[in-house]
């Protein structure tokens, strides 16, 4: 099993800064932006992106977390998952431009679940998707709007995102699966 580092600490920071700029550019400013992370690491990334967007624009952008466990389509195929808390900023999602943030975009099924969850909470004007890594192999017609790194991979490979706040170190590695 060989591990290869794809992104290092500084690469991740640069990617997030670029994503923050792109979000502001496509939204023409910070108005009505709500940034939602998908647990676990998406929430950490969302907080960082929101902080960067706020710094760049000079306006505080609301950030929250969106748990999608209860909306997954694979609940009966895996061991019982423990849900994580959802926290939606006080302004709600109605009329907002919601930017979903996740660490790795793969099949797209998590995002499908997230879109269903959002629909039960409110009616945003638009929903955008930001991912630190897009590894391909989509199983649904979903594409990201903001990508940190495109990482063509084979399904047998595994991608690990480690973040300072969760794992105590920061890197993205790709490992050859031993399956």
């Amino acid at each position: 099993m060989s591990a290869r580092v794809v992104l290092q600490h500084a690469d991740i920071s640069r990617a997030l800064t670029r994503i923050a700029h792109e979000i502001l550019e496509s939204n023409r400013g910070p108005d009505d932006l709500v940034i939602l992370g998908i647990p676990t690491r998406g929430v950490v990334l969302a907080r960082r992106v929101a902080r960067l967007v706020s710094e760049i624009s000079g306006t505080g952008v609301p950030v929250g977390s969106l748990d999608v466990t209860m909306y997954r389509d694979d609940l009966s195929r895996n061991p019982t998952r423990a849900p994580s808390p959802t926290s939606i900023p006080a302004r709600g999602l109605d009329g907002a431009t919601v930017v979903l943030v996740d660490d790795v975009l793969y099949s797209g099924r998590t995002i499908r679940a997230a879109l269903d969850a959002i629909g039960d909470i409110g009616r945003p004007r638009a929903v955008r998707l930001a991912a630190l890594v897009d590894r391909g192999h989509r199983e649904l017609p979903i594409r990201p709007d903001f990508v940190g790194k495109n990482l063509p991979s084979s399904p047998s490979e595994r991608i690990f995102v480690r973040l300072e706040d969760v794992d105590g170190e920061e890197s993205v590695t790709i490992e050859q699966g031993g399956v």
Binding site: Y71, N78, T80, P85
Partner: protein, 315 residues
Amino acid sequence: MRHLLSTRDLSRDAAIHILDVAEDMADTQTREVRKLPTLRGKTVVNLFFEDSTRTRISFEAAAKRLSADVINFSAKGSSVSKGESLKDTAQTLEEMGADAVVIRHGASGAPHTLAASGWIDAGIVNAGDGTHEHPTQALLDAFTIRRCLHGSASRGRALDGVTVAIVGDILHSRVARSNVWLLSALGARTVFVGPPTLVPNHLEGWPAEVSFDLDATLATGPDVVMMLRIQSERMNDAFFPNPREYSRRWGLDDERLARLGPDTIVMHPGPMNRGLEISSRAADSPRSTVREQVANGVSARMAVLYLLLSGERED
């Protein structure tokens, strides 16, 4: 989790986990759309051999909020009144494709029989069996206490150092039995208070203290006073001289209510006999959690159904 039959076999971590999932469920109930697609395609049968309003509709609401199909079965007006055995009823439900059976039965141990018999493959939830246990009531009570104490910072916490006085008919109470085990697992202290005729004789091995004097117990400043219903349907013996005497010595009347500490909460599993074990003023006071308990019951039962019915089956 395969079945939920009793709180006695729940570890501290397992109990906290269920309460945390219930917090997540409660969060979803503040949304614009309160229905979750989680248990779509699953069938939950409410099998009620004893009368119940709030437990049955609470389970029904919980299952429906999770998009499960619900079949209500009450013994009255069913083949059970024609003499059908539990085994045949269970096998009928099995053939109809029940994924979970929520059972209330007058006989202690009926849910255990159903779970252990092999008559049916579904997950079994005990919704009250005889004078044995009522685990989801204990879960919603613990959830309510935890929320009163810790508010939105409840997740991950237990009930260490909390004192709960459970007052009334301990002898017949499955609520008291389920509560004492769960509270003990969560680190709380339980005091049973009641007339000697309504407290079991042998409490060795139970993690509870006993008091026969309500006023003395209230003077020690318990965090929670949980009043139990006087179950007239089980009062087939001379347990106390008359309702007025019971009310005067063991009821939470206005005068006792006024003496409670500022943070003491008053609980009641319902249905209440106002004027008997609890006065109207106590039931409607701001420190009463009776209505929260009903709302929390749905969240707690959603958590149980979710943990029972999602995920690969572990046999």
